[in-house]
């Protein structure tokens, strides 16, 4: 397929996104029809972008599009190479589902809210995300990077009446601005060395960079992109911003905004800096492991549903960084095939995470919209009134915990194979890092399973814990459609993993020059192998087939021996109490109590129980229980830093203390000093 249709599709997608935005802004308040038109434009844009990126990936040579720009210093040049199109495809898929979902979700907003503004910034976010992935010029990249942060800021602080979302918005924007500062310095350094700001020019001089230059540049970019990817030390904005945003936006942010950071790291590590020194890969690996472990540990103890999902985004970002770190280390050891396996695992997990995390956030949004609160302790028994939403959440939960039939398992399996391969191939002591990382990845996977058993079990099963949770109705059909497509995609990617891998070939070829799909997909496209000759294989589709076949066995057994009609509904065993109420049920805090005790060193749990009693302490009238966990990074790193800056700043106020004599003295001293010494130099 030659260039022109791809350009047309790509630009068509951008134009329809923009049209959605402007149309939404102008005509939103009036009739319901305008809402449908807005969502249609957004979906059209998503479709066009999706087709354009698939075509561009499969097309042999990459397409370059440049549009004349009004500003002389800036050229609008886009490069649709396999890597950016892959991320663009993920964006297109997620934005299609989220746009369909928004049709139902936006009806839920109360009328006073300026929904037109929401639609405008929503489409601005989509446009800026698309251009961030495909920009070919560093200056345009930085501009669109900040426009993305700007539109995300306005979406996060959309219901700014609540202090929590306003503060979250400010924290998000300030931290992303700090990250952009680092990016600006990095790109400018590269720009001056390469004497041009095109990514292709950076690629050319990549070979001439000295290790020190590579190392310092990598640190700058890793910090800049790491802030946006939600890496551990710089992650505190993520659990604050994502829950505060409306659910369809937090789905888009968690699925795609995090990936812009990871896209940046991939672009830098593999494309723009040549082969960075070994310690960069190890740094990414350790940061990834730390993010994975701490992310899931904090997700476990979080009573707020959306904050829990935000922490699990940090965990998955950690897993992606682990695979990426592995790939970088193998590359610096000169093992392209192994690096390709790790890179395939990383890219596959990026796409999977985009799909199941947006699915989870959308279903969480439906639940929060229905029950009116985000607190797990207020939910319960939602599986009966909202069966389909519960099913979608369950599919997302199974996928994110990496359990077999679904796509999470396949990408985690590939990551294990890569890490395992790493042990054998790296000579020095670094070989011990990989299995340890593998075992910590296993711990993360198991804790993630625990976390989502807790979320689904407490949130959806058994009796409703509050009156709102009792009177709940199923989500809007458009919302169900959005969630449904994502759930089906999860299942499809899980079973059809072997069909999906060939798409990753052009990417690994562009980044590493190795095509891996031939030796990753074995035995006629049925099983997935780990790349080495007799390596382990897994066949997700065959597994499901075998499971279904084996399920016939217990079915037959029950049919033979068990006569019909003997299934009697009865009350659950209530140890002789007068009937089971929702107070007997396990709560989210109780569920995570064992882990809170085991990891007490990290959480520093604090518990306070006050009982009121008349006669004796053993017959309390009312018990008040309060438990609190210390947010480690805020209390030990960020608030002391902020307080010290503010204290020093207020000490500076004394230089403007109002006395004119002092002001004149400043000028006088400068004059005399310059007269005496300025003249000499």
């Amino acid at each position: 397929m030659n260039q022109t249709p791809i350009n047309g599709l790509f630009l068509g997608g951008l134009i329809s996104y923009a049209a959605a935005g402007l149309f939404g802004l102008a005509a939103y308040q009036r009739r319901r029809a305008t809402r449908i038109v807005f969502c249609l434009f957004a979906c059209l844009g998503a479709l066009l972008e999706g087709i354009a990126s698939v075509a561009a990936i499969l097309d042999a040579n990459e397409t370059l599009i440049s549009i004349p720009s009004g500003v002389p210093l800036l050229q609008y040049t886009f490069r649709l190479d396999p890597v950016s199109c892959y991320f663009n495809l993920a964006l297109a898929v997620v934005s299609l589902a989220v746009s369909v979902y928004s049709l139902g979700y936006l009806d839920g907003f109360d009328v006073r809210k300026p929904r037109g503004i929401f639609c405008f910034f929503y489409s601005l976010l989509l446009v800026s995300l698309t251009v961030v992935f495909t920009a070919n010029n560093a200056f345009l990249f930085l501009i669109v990077w900040e426009v993305m942060a700007l539109s995300a800021y306005f979406l996060v602080s959309f219901d700014h009446e609540r202090d929590e979302s306003r503060k979250a918005g400010i924290l998000f924007f300030v931290m992303s601005h700090v990250g952009t500062g680092a990016l600006i310095v990095g790109f400018l350094l590269l720009g001056t060395w390469a004497r041009s700001f095109d990514f292709s020019a950076f690629h050319l001089i990549a070979a001439t960079l000295t290790p020190i230059q590579q190392g310092s540049l990598f640190l700058l970019f890793f910090f800049g992109f790491g802030v946006k990817a939600g890496m551990i030390p710089v992650h505190i904005w993520l659990p604050a911003a994502h829950p505060a945003a409306p659910s369809n936006v937090s789905a888009l942010m968690s699925a795609i905004l995090i990936k812009t950071g990871i896209y940046g790291i991939i672009r830098i590590a593999f494309d723009l800096l040549g082969i960075p020194p070994l310690w960069c890969g190890l740094l990414v690996l350790t940061a990834g492991t730390a993010s994975a472990i701490l992310g899931v540990l904090y997700a476990l103890i979080e009573p707020d549903l959306k904050r829990m999902l935000a922490y699990s985004t940090i965990e998955n970002a950690g897993i992606i960084l682990m695979a990426l770190g592995g790939a970088m280390v193998f590359r610096s050891y000169g093992r392209p095939t192994l690096a390709a396996v790790a890179l395939v695992a990383c890219l596959f997990h990026i796409f999977n995470h985009a799909i199941f995390k947006s699915l989870l956030f959308l279903s969480a949004g439906a639940v929060v919209h229905a029950t009116g609160s985000r607190n797990l302790e207020r939910m319960g028994g939602l599986i009966r009134p909202m069966p389909l939403t519960a099913l979608c959440f369950l599919v997302g939960a199974i996928a994110i915990s990496g359990l077999p039939p679904l796509n999470g398992f396949v990408s985690e399996w590939l990551t294990y194979q890569a890490l395992l391969g790493g042990f054998g191939s790296t000579p020095s002591l670094t070989r011990i890092v990989f299995p340890v990382a593998g075992s910590l990845l296993a711990l993360t996977g198991a804790l993630a399973a625990t976390c989502f058993v807790r979320a689904f079990g407490i949130g959806f099963l058994a009796l409703p814990r509050s009156s709102q949770a009792a009177h709940v109705h199923e989500a809007h059909p458009a919302m169900l459609a959005g969630m449904g497509t994502l759930a089906l995609l999860c299942i499809g990617l899980g079973l059809g993993a072997t069909l999906w891998l060939p798409i990753l070939d052009p990417l690994t070829n562009q980044l590493l020059g190795v095509r891996m799909s031939s030796n990753l997909v074995v035995s006629g496209g049925l099983a997935l192998s780990s790349g080495s000759a007799a390596g382990g294989t897994v066949a997700p589709a065959a597994l499901v087939g075998a499971l279904v076949l084996l399920a016939l066995l217990p079915g037959v057994l029950c049919a033979i021996w068990w006569r019909r009609g003997r299934k009697i509904p009865g009350p659950t065993w209530d140890c002789g109490l007068p009937g089971l109420t929702e107070y007997n049920e396990y709560t989210a805090t109780a569920f995570s109590k064992p882990l809170r005790m085991i990891f007490a060193a990290l959480f520093q749990p604090r518990r306070e129980i006050q009982t009121e009693f008349e006669v004796s302490a053993y017959y309390p009238i009312s018990v008040r229980f309060e438990s609190e966990v210390e947010p480690a990074f805020e209390t030990h790193l960020y608030s002391p830093l902020k307080d010290r800056i503010m204290a020093r700043a207020s000490r500076f106020r004394t230089i403007q203390a109002g006395s004119i004599h002092a002001y004149l003295a400043y000028i006088f001293i400068t004059l005399v000093v310059l007269l005496l010494f300025g003249v000499r130099s």
Binding site: S69, G70, V71, P72, L73, L74, F139, L142, I143, V144, W145, E146, V147, L150, S157, H160, E161, D163, R166, G169, I170, F173, V174, H177, V178, T180, G181, I184, V185, L188, L189, G191, T192, I645, M646, R648, A649, S650, F652, R653, I655, Q656, I660, A662, Y663, L664, Y666, I667, T670, L671, L674, L675, G678, V679, S681
Partner: protein, 500 residues
């Protein structure tokens, strides 16, 4: 001829407004004058673009690309301020904001308005004279005139604090300008020893620039230091910036906007004229070191005050100190990119800053205070246009990308990295980020938030039109710079670079 008319119209408009006494007439005269000045400025720039430098009275008034740009910017800001001023003073008059203890409102209010409408054209006249004067002595006289014309504009409200602000403004301005005079004398001395002529042309910039290379080294070094201190005081560069927060927070908003977007440009224009002479004589090395130090100092001074600021009017003052610092830094980095970056920054700053002042003015008039403590936040509910304008202007002024200031800052950074000034560039970026965070925290909490139940503010037609007009210009400028404007800036930059 354009030059004469450009100066004559505002000069005449001042006394005319004084004579007319009645408000509608004064407003009409003011608006007509500045509209006319704006058209003439556009015509001048077109003429300069086509036929190069324009001179009048055999070189006394001289307009090359640089001065045409300054004239254009001053005229634009004056026009926008005059449109806004109509709405602003009508609101003041209606809500007896002039002075609590004045019983007879009508008569005294008119007296104060007369003071504004007569002094403002003189203020603009002096700024235009700065841009058009070829003789460096006359340049100094014109800048002194700007100070004198604006002192009584700062004491407009007659409160104790505005008296204090005006006194500091006048005294520090006077001291600064006497240093600048000393610098001008020394430059004339070093030129006099070569040219020897006694005539007025001896101090003309166009004459001086031709044989600047042969000036005496040590004299020019001392002259540049004094000029930097002198015109730096008028531009509000640290450590001479102390008058700025007081003057900007006490003056009425149109005057503050003129000070921020007009006088800053003229002062830097004077600095650039002398910078060209010194860099021809001593080479760029000497000038850039001192300029970078002063630029970083002003940005550094602005950071703590933005972080712990109590009033949003003073917050704006520190933002303009920061932008003054950026422009001086750009001049320090030098090179074609540095100078282009500085002039671009000057243009975009003069267009963005008034919107910030106007929305702040609306908010202050509505809340009757400019303290964050007293403003209970959630302004977007009672005044959607000014609130949104304020938030957008904050993002534009702190240089966040979709707006044009980011492009000029990026060009300046390119010059910095090109020139190998690594540490100043990194300090520059960190100051930018710190100031952005300080601004965002203050303004977001002021504009957004729960509805405090204030009555909706009816921004009148004039104020709304000026806000909307400026906002559209700023947004459009982010994506499309009109070709003639950019070629004017380009030729001004080449003029400064090639003259070196």
């Amino acid at each position: 001829m354009i030059l004469l008319w450009l100066l004559l119209i505002p000069f005449v408009a001042g006394p005319l407004a004084f004579v007319l006494r009645r408000r509608p007439f004064m407003e009409a005269v003011n608006l007509a004058t500045f509209a006319l000045v704006a058209c003439l400025a556009a015509a001048l720039s077109a003429q300069v673009l086509q036929r190069g430098p324009v001179s009048f009275w055999d070189g006394f008034l001289y307009a090359d690309a640089l001065s045409a740009l300054i004239v254009l910017l001053t005229a634009f800001v004056a026009l926008v301020c005059s449109i806004y001023a109509v709405g602003y003073f009508r609101h003041d008059e209606k809500y007896t904001f002039f002075d609590e203890n004045e019983e007879v409102l009508g008569e005294l209010a008119v007296y104060k308005l007369r003071k504004y409408y007569s002094l403002m054209p003189l203020f603009v006249f002096s700024m235009l004279l700065v841009a058009l004067a070829n003789n460096l002595g006359i340049l100094w006289v014109a800048i002194e005139l700007t100070t004198l014309a604006s002192v009584f504009l700062v004491t407009f409200y007659g409160r104790k604090t505005s008296l204090e602000a005006a006194w500091k403004y006048a005294i520090i301005g006077g001291v600064g300008l006497s240093m600048a005079l000393f610098g001008t004398i020394l430059t004339y001395y070093s030129a006099h020893r070569i040219q020897g002529t006694e005539t007025l042309a001896g101090l003309n910039w166009s004459v001086l620039v031709q044989n600047a290379a042969r000036f005496d080294k040590t004299t020019m070094r001392l002259a540049f230091i004094l000029i930097l201190l002198g015109y730096g005081t008028k531009a509000g560069i640290a450590p001479m910036h102390t008058w700025k927060p007081d003057a900007y927070s006490e003056a009425p908003v149109p005057v503050a906007a003129m000070l921020a977007a007009g006088v800053l440009n003229c002062a830097l224009y004077g600095l650039v004229r002398f910078y060209v002479l010194t860099s021809k004589c001593l080479g760029p090395q000497f000038g850039s070191q001192i300029l970078i130090v002063f630029g970083l100092l002003s940005m550094g001074v602005a950071v703590p005050f933005v972080l712990v600021q109590r009033s949003f009017r003073r917050l704006l003052a520190y933002s303009s100190i920061d932008h003054g610092g950026i422009m001086v830094l750009a001049l320090g980095f030098g090179g074609p990119l540095g100078i282009l970056g500085m002039l671009l920054h000057m243009t975009f700053h003069s267009i963005t800053k008034p919107l910030l002042f106007f929305s702040a003015g609306n908010i202050q008039q509505h809340l009757k205070t400019d303290l964050f403590r007293k403003a209970k936040g959630g302004l977007i509910h009672s005044m959607p246009w000014s609130g949104a304008g304020f938030l957008m202007a904050t993002l534009a002024v702190t240089g966040s990308p979709p707006f044009s200031l980011f492009q000029s800052e990026f060009t300046i950074l390119r010059a910095a990295f090109g020139g190998g000034y690594l540490l100043p560039a990194i300090l520059f970026v960190s100051f930018l980020v710190a100031i952005f965070s300080g601004f965002l925290v203050h303004i977001a909490n002021l504009v957004l938030g729960p509805d405090p139940g204030l009555p909706p503010a009816e921004t009148c037609r004039w104020k709304k039109s000026s806000l909307l007009g400026l906002a559209t210009v700023i947004i459009v400028l982010g994506f499309w710079i009109p070709a003639p404007l950019f070629s004017l800036i380009q030729s001004a930059a080449d003029l400064v670079v090639s003259a070196r």
